[in-house]
Symmetry: C2
Subunit: 334 residues, 2 copies
Amino acid sequence: MKRVGDFTYELEKKCYITGKSVLVGEKEKTGTFKKYFCDSVTDDKMGEKTFEKGERRMLFEIDKMALKDAGLKSSDVSLYLGGDLMNQIVTSNFVAEKLQIPFVGIYSACSTLTASLGVGAMLIESGGFENILCSTISHFSSAERQYRYPLEFGNQRQCYSQWTVTAGGAFVLSTNKSNIIITKICFGKVQDYGVIDIANMGAAMAPAAYDTLKNFFTDTNTEPKDYDMIVSGDLGKLGSDILRDMLLKDGFDLGQNYMDCGHSIYLFEEESYQGGSGAGCSASVVSAYILEKVKQGVFKKVLVVATGALMSTVTNQQGDSIPCVAHLVQIEKV
Amino acid sequence: MKRVGDFTYELEKKCYITGKSVLVGEKEKTGTFKKYFCDSVTDDKMGEKTFEKGERRMLFEIDKMALKDAGLKSSDVSLYLGGDLMNQIVTSNFVAEKLQIPFVGIYSACSTLTASLGVGAMLIESGGFENILCSTISHFSSAERQYRYPLEFGNQRQCYSQWTVTAGGAFVLSTNKSNIIITKICFGKVQDYGVIDIANMGAAMAPAAYDTLKNFFTDTNTEPKDYDMIVSGDLGKLGSDILRDMLLKDGFDLGQNYMDCGHSIYLFEEESYQGGSGAGCSASVVSAYILEKVKQGVFKKVLVVATGALMSTVTNQQGDSIPCVAHLVQIEKV
């Protein structure tokens, strides 16, 4: 692996994506990507007693589906990387116990997808690993009651709020060949522009996506039109508008080849305000839609830049603003 | 890097530890390692209004001290890896914002030390990084009120409980030379033997340390007496006794060259029950005592196996048992 510029890393060995999976909830299944979300659940407790246990069962299914897609058993995989939005990433911890694959937990909020894929691809590059499983999930009901209000409370939402998606995705990184590879990685620096309103995640996270994309374009001496698609995680409509504006001021026009998973995942009539959010938002859209298009050759070179808001309920209650991060991976068709 | 056996990785390039730091609270400063804990704080709020903000300031100081020890500025460091015990690892997130080093958060509870060092060393091996900063911290007051009871409640403790240390440590991994290197890594599989009592962390975590050590000894065809010191994280007295028993049944006698940071950190008269716990427990003892002894050549080859309990208050309230993990790094003098 070699460093390009200040913040970007170019893989020299090939890190293939040989397996992927996605499982979404009912609301996500009826949205924009219904044709691509083949597997969905109608019971978001998955037959369990609580939403948290349901989320856990859902992630276990997602991980098993990705292993199956790659034609692997869990004993063929040497490392499991991932996390989720629950305190202490317990969803992933408990699934790791079931899988019995050596596990390192990543906490990067809604940017867990690209944090895990980035670290995983670099570990493949280091030479000791053959297969690494990366996964993440978010769950509306468990996230809502942990971060915001009890569901029964029925609070009113701000017009600039987003809707945590019930969805997850898993990916198998491998030295075995496929026609999708990860070629470049750019980890983000944490940005804090002073937003303190936890309902306004898009505004808080946009500067992180801006910083990472600006660093990446500068390091690689490229611009947005050099990519078939640039995908941000879950900025929502407002956040992705802010990102566009910020980049444009530096002369980087995101143009037509840009989409935000959060802004895109729900249809207007689903009343999800600025769109979806959550670690599973980018994971599900990238797994089901983006990688499918890469596989088909519709997109040959894609940048995925997932963003994460790194606050907690306690930091919010103590008046802190919201630090955010964005990690980028470049995915290509071979 | 090459794989040895099923779970162990041997670094082929050299990953040096070029900087380290430690900062402890008042109780830790008066304990066993008082001679080694050069820097301590008397105000565990560090002049801030809350324990959480104090913890954050403490970690920032720790990170700056490690950079200074390595003779680096934060702009010389390409990646910051780490985490802590706070929900959403907010202590590390906020410090990452201040440092402005690209940051990937690791959540591995009290095994964050070895999870971060392990991932960091492998990333150094992958070729793109020159300097990586790894750090972790725990804080009695912020952890106690997040995980257990309000401090003012003054609850009685079980005889098998442990005391979360107020301490943290940071480490600079580098391609630059020093006389301490990381040579082998073994990531753990999550173990759950059904312990549901969150006061009994030692019993919950011992099977994870057992599994990782057993895998490592088997993979490398070595036994405990081949190492000058084997250091577990924060099993406490009870947990380390359980670990000894479990390994002995498989023919691995930990013998005299074994210590547990949690069991050792406090003096008997400090009334800390089974000893210390927390992510900062192993980080501080390894940074201040173990690495100092490695530097001096007293210990030439050391295994550090930090353990983490991966539950949350919610999983505990929902009746789940405690999944635990242990990650191992082998550290040597060159």
